[in-house]
Structure formats: structure tokens, C-alpha cells
Symmetry: C2
Subunit: 435 residues, 2 copies
């Protein structure tokens, strides 16, 4: 036999159980999005190369997958690229369709993205993103709703989480008061790594990026602020007293916490002044969600941006969005054994038969059960009973309805519970309420 | 302002209403698949180029989209291609994972495919396919179940259809008895066009392909066979008396119709000897479904194949499958105005408020309603009432709950039915049963 076929490095096949579990995650998230009036859109897998280039930095440009038609000569520059994330296509969508949309525009989008990264554990060249955004309003209700969505999604999934929150305006204020306002990007890039590399390495990097010892020293008490959220915010008001943007950030955070109070949000939320998020389009609140019972990094993240559509010529449109990391959520649910058991099989009962007449009898029963919305399979041949039972075992089908001559005569089936091994003869009217 | 951004030719953005309608189609189909124990898989968007090349004929090879990493030199031959259909990846999947699968393997798959075709009305470079197959069994129960699935899917969608059925073995038998067994492919390719180009053009093409006048004349009465299915099958038994394969085909059709009888299938089914289906991997029953009330060609099609996995080194595995044409089904539902009206909005009620306190009041109500699984939006600012109502209008939200000082005092909202214009003051307990 020829060599087994394979798939490209960094890509995956999803089998039946994986799909059922992935659908469980996406359906849970979609169910919560719907409660808040977010509606789904989809954009094409390919975008014009000009839409993508220059949007993800120099490194990002290198990670774009470019597309050629087979017909085209290799020398012709390819003019299309595969979607690298859902954010840039969303910005492009909003600008292109702005006349048709009603603002604030609340959309979610669940589609694969592609990156020509070196594949490694947990890093794929094709993976799904799941983004939710509200754009066209600077109301902090946007932040509130996204936090409520995080609370409800993880409550439904059964994952205990902590939401870390910060504000880019506070970070800008800090840069201002330590006398390095122009270094806000360097500062955020460096402190964003705190979790991974530790405070000493961050300080070394800050120095390398041009902060002097005095400035670095001034930064330390701020990064180390502890205590209650209210306490931190009060302290920040003093620290940032001379920074207009910093105080605006504190005010935004106070308002967000006030709104959370009003709706009695019980989510575990931490004002984390070391949270920076690398992406420089964020301008207000920023979030990251971590699972408390699994060591896996951020499973959801996002923030407020004021000018996402500016790159496509529509400036001054404010929005806020978050992205759920489906692959990591999958890993957490697996590690904590939180996937519902019933995802293992969709079929409720398999009919196993001893002959052609029995097979026909089973087909009629199957039709009756399906009309009651019960998922039924009929083993397609009256072959060896062991083989038919093995199929039910493999597919983890909970019940097998065995049909022989005796069952046909008495208008019954012999129902076997595959978990307990119990068998009993039942009529159709007795059968369906069991399933 | 800069030029509006755009998307590549032949691709589409799907807005909220289109997505709701597409999801309605896919969810309906998936619901029926589940009743028969079919389970979902997904394969990567990109396959190794060797998996795809040579599987779709010379023309198909030219329509493959090839992928380059941005980092790679253009001179390097790209080694990956975008999925052209779901059939070849499915065959690759079955061979690659055969040790993990239980056969018969019942899978469905709903994913986009890409073809570098010249874009035109109704033909896209990216479109979804929706395939369902059972592989690893030659039982005609496979054909039966797929026909039952067609019956139920179109019953649920409300589309009246006719299923055309034929058998490639009968076509092979006909080629045999007219004395041109080696021309089975030419004959099927030609008569497959009967619908489009008419009998005269088909006969001309048959002559061009090498059939002589006598053979063409012998073919005519067969293509023109009319009457009941039973009558046609009886006539075929005489016509094909000397063709073993032809008689085998007739026998298969008789058995399929017998099984359909047993389950009291009420689908409109026509044995159509002119149905050929161009794809040469079919070896038994072939199907096409046409909408009775719309002129749009086939909306579902498929058939039995005996050697799909042979191309990947696993010969002799029989299967049967069909593919639902989502874009055409969408067009039929649009033309016949059959989409459920409630797809226009997912949000049941919008809260519109006259001030900050009212907004906070609305947030608390919204939380209560969402806990009852009702989709609620709160307009994010207490701006002009006209603007807030306009938002509800645009999004076709059926109810607006207006909150002013009076409502807060009386623990009520003023509920406006956006269809009738009626308003009434209601408490929370009165509100949610209305929604």
C-alpha cells in the first residue's frame, strides 16, 4: 500500500469528538453573544494584499500567506493574502459597508485565520478566532457588556477565571509623570512581558530602550501598587495628578467599576497596572482573562480602540472588543475534565438486527423515533451481532435495540443499556421516553 | 477620504441578515444529519499540493489556488493549495485516519472551498459546500437514508422538490447493449447535458464522440422511456437482458424503491435515465434534487462510489454521499420568500432611556431578562429618543422599553410594540412573558 497521505505542517484535522467539543465552546459563546444583541458576520478568507500589508508590523507581513491562482505565472506578484486575524477584515468591513450599518454596530465573527509561523506545540498555521466588538460608540457600556459576557461565558463553561483590567490612558499618564511621555510604546511593550520574564528583565529592557535609572525607579512603586481596586485608584489619582490623560483613564476605570456594581457583577476582576497588551491600537480599557485552575496564559483578551478604521480612511470611530481563544479554552476544558459527557455521542440508539425482515422492521421504528427528534442509527446489514454491538461501543451509543423473530412477533425490541448491560423487552411506546 | 476598501473578485462579505439566513439553512440540515447519526468533521483549508493535483482533471488543476508563505522566494514552487472541494479531503481523511474510525463511517462536513474560476453571477471563488457521506458499507440503506434526509431537509425548509435518480450501472448496461461499452464515459458526459442543450445537440455530440447512427438510434427509445418507475424498470430488464452490469443496476434500483416503500417515503422521486452526473467516480445510484417552484438547476446531488479512497492507496471501499448546494438553496428560499421572518432580528427588546439614572435602571432590568434567556439591548447613551428608536427600527427589534422618571418611580417601563405602535406600561413580571 502507498504511503499514508498527510496534511501540511501546523494544520489539523478535527474528528467527530473534537468537532463536538469545539461546537460546544462556540455554541456556548454564541448563545451569550446573542443575549446582548451581537450578530454574526463573515468575511472572505482572502483579502486584497493591500488590505493586509503593513497592518501587523514588519514581522506580521512576513507571516502572511499569499495566494496565487494556478493559472498565473509564478513571476506575477500574488495580489491576495489569507486573513491573518479578524480585526483588520472587520475594520475593512465597517468602512466598506458603513452606509448599510446601524451604529453602534455590534458584531461577532468566528472564522479561521492563517499565519506562516513556525509550527510548535499550541501554535498552528490555521486556527479559529472568535471576536466580539461594538463599534461606533465611546460609551463605557461597551466595556461593561463585554465583561458581563466574559462572566456568563465562563460561568456556562464552568471555568473559574480572573479578569485583569487596565487602561492605556493610565499607562500614558504614568509615562508622562515619570517624564517619558514619548516612550509610552516602549514602556508598554516592556511591562507587557512582566508575567513571562519578571521585573528584573523588564527593568533591564526599559533601560535598554532608553529610560534612565530615575525614571525606572519612579515606575516601580506604581507597578507594585497593591490593595483593593478603590485603593489603587485613589493612589493613582495622587500619582497622576499632573497628567490629564492619566486622570481620564482613572475616571474611566471608576465608571466601569461603578457600572459593574450596578449590575452586581460577581466576576473576579483585578485592576492590574502591569497589564499592557502589546497591540498599539488600544487607547482605553484593556482586558485579559486567565483561568484560575490551569496554567495556560490568557484565554480571552481585548480592549478599547479609538481609530481602528482610520487605516482605511474613516478616522475617529471608537470601539471596544475582545477575542476568545478557542484552542486554549479547549485545552482548559480538557485539562479540568469539564466537557459534558453527552458530547461523546449524538446517536441515542442503534438498531441491531438478525435478518432482512428484522432490518425492515427496524427501519420503520427508526422513522417513528426520528419523528420524535431522537437520533437513531440502523446498522446497515444484519451481520454478526458482535460486529453490530462493536459499532455501538466504538461510537459510544448508549442504547442498542436488538431485533430478532421473537421481537417482531411481539411488536417489541430487546433494549440493551450499553453502560449497565441491562436488557429488557420494550414496545415502541415504552422505548422513546427512555431515550 | 481615501478610496473605499474592497474585497477580491468572486468573494463575499456576509452581513448579519445573510448570516442568520445561512445559519438557518445549515442548522436545519445539521439537525436532520444528526437524527441519522452523521457526525461533523473538519479538514484544513490547505492540503499538500500533491493531495489535490490530478484529482479534478486538467481543468481542475488550473483552478487550484496555490499558497506561498510570504517569507518564501517566489521561485520556490508553492507546496500547498486551498481545498477545491470536500470530497478529496474526505477521501484523504478516511485513508489517513482509518485505524481510528469505526466503519461504516457516517460524516458530514460544512466548510468553504476555493476555485480560481472566472467569477460570474452565482459563481464564486469562495463558497461553502455541505457534504454528507457514509463510507465503508455497500448496503443500499446508505442510499435510503440519504433520500430520507433529502425528504426531511426540504420538508423542514418548505421547498417542494423532485429527486431524480438513476444508476451508473444501468448507463453502463445501456452502453453495452448498444454495442459501445468502451464509450460509457462519452455517453454519460453527453447525455448529462440533455437538460441544458436538448436532445438534438446531445445526439450531435454523441456522433462527434464516435457513436454511429445505429447506436444513437438504439439509444433514443431508452432515453425516452416514460411511465411509472415500475414500468420503466420492467422495460429495462428486457432491454438490458444481455448485460450483467445493467441488470445489476436495475436490481439495485428495485431494492432502493422497495426500501423507500417500507419507510413510506412520500418524496417526489423520478427514475430519470437521462441523469448521468459528469463525475466519473460514481459507480451505482446517482441523485439530483430540483426545486419544483424555482428555475435554478440542481440544489442537491450525489451518488454511490466504489473506489474514492483508491487514489490514496486504499482500494475497494464503497460509499455513498450527497452535497447540498447552500448558495442555491439560499436563492430558492429568497425567491419563494420562505425564510422565517424572525431571522431579521435576534434582539427581542431594546431599552431606550431619558438619562443616566434611567440607563442604570435599564441595565438592571436587562440583566434580569437575560437570565431568562431573552436577548436584550440597552442603547448605550441616553441620547435623543428619536435616535434610539431609529436604532431599533434599523435592527428590526420588535419591542422598545422606554424608561423615564415616571417609569422608575412606578417600577415599570413603557413598552412599545414596534410593529403595531401600541404602548403600555408594564412591570418586569408582566414584561418577560410578552417577549
Amino acid at each position: 500500500m502507498a504511503q499514508k497521505p498527510s496534511i501540511p505542517k501546523g494544520t489539523r484535522d478535527f474528528g467527530q469528538l473534537e468537532m463536538a467539543r469545539r461546537n460546544y465552546i462556540f455554541d456556548t459563546i454564541k448563545g451569550v453573544f446573542a443575549l446582548y444583541g451581537f450578530q454574526q458576520i463573515e468575511t472572505p478568507s482572502m483579502e486584497n494584499i493591500g488590505t493586509l500589508m503593513g497592518k501587523y508590523g514588519e514581522e506580521g507581513d512576513k507571516l502572511l500567506f499569499r495566494i496565487q491562482n494556478s493559472g498565473e505565472k509564478a513571476a506575477l506578484a500574488p495580489e491576495k493574502g489569507l486573513r491573518y486575524d479578524l480585526t483588520v477584515p472587520f475594520a475593512r468591513y465597517v468602512v466598506q459597508h458603513r452606509e448599510e450599518l446601524s451604529f453602534p454596530f455590534k458584531r461577532f465573527q468566528i472564522q479561521p485565520v492563517w499565519r506562516a509561523d513556525r509550527p510548535q506545540k499550541g501554535r498552528y498555521r490555521e486556527f479559529y478566532q472568535c471576536d466580539v466588538d461594538v463599534i461606533g460608540s465611546d460609551s463605557l457600556l461597551g466595556e461593561l457588556e463585554l465583561i458581563q459576557i466574559v462572566e456568563e461565558v465562563y460561568r456556562r463553561l464552568g471555568i473559574r477565571v480572573c479578569l485583569h483590567i487596565n487602561n492605556r490612558k493610565i499607562l500614558a499618564g504614568i509615562a508622562e509623570v515619570i517624564g517619558a511621555p514619548e516612550m509610552i510604546v516602549d514602556i508598554t511593550v516592556a511591562i507587557d512581558k512582566l508575567d513571562k520574564i519578571g521585573i528584573d528583565a523588564v527593568n533591564a529592557e526599559l533601560k535598554e530602550r532608553g529610560l534612565n535609572d530615575e525614571q525606572i525607579a519612579a515606575l516601580q512603586p506604581i507597578l507594585n501598587l497593591s490593595g483593593t481596586t478603590a485603593g489603587k485608584l485613589t493612589a493613582l489619582k495622587t500619582i497622576l495628578a499632573n497628567s490629564e490623560i492619566g486622570l481620564k483613564g482613572v475616571e474611566e476605570m471608576e465608571e466601569i467599576f461603578r457600572l459593574l456594581d450596578i449590575v452586581h457583577c460577581t466576576l473576579n476582576i483585578e485592576l492590574d497596572l502591569c497589564l499592557a497588551r502589546g497591540l498599539n491600537y488600544y487607547t482605553g480599557a484593556i482586558f485579559e482573562v486567565k483561568a484560575l485552575d490551569a496554567q495556560i496564559g490568557s484565554i480571552t483578551g481585548g480592549g478599547r480602540y479609538d481609530n481602528l478604521t482610520g487605516i482605511f480612511g474613516l478616522p475617529g470611530v471608537s470601539g471596544v472588543g475582545i477575542s476568545f481563544g478557542a484552542d486554549r479554552i479547549y485545552d482548559v476544558l480538557t485539562e479540568l475534565d469539564l466537557f459534558p459527557k453527552e458530547l461523546q455521542s449524538t446517536t441515542q440508539v442503534l438498531f441491531a438486527t438478525f435478518g432482512q425482515d428484522e432490518l425492515h422492521y427496524a427501519l420503520r421504528w427508526a422513522k417513528e423515533l426520528r419523528a420524535k427528534n431522537i437520533a437513531v442509527e440502523v446498522y446497515p446489514e444484519p451481520t454478526k451481532m458482535k460486529k453490530q454491538m462493536g459499532y455501538a461501543d466504538d461510537k459510544k451509543i448508549p442504547y442498542v435495540a436488538i431485533v430478532g423473530g421473537n421481537e417482531m412477533e411481539t411488536h417489541t425490541v430487546m433494549l440493551k443499556n450499553m453502560t449497565t448491560g441491562e436488557q429488557k423487552q420494550v414496545t415502541l411506546d415504552e422505548l422513546w421516553p427512555i431515550l
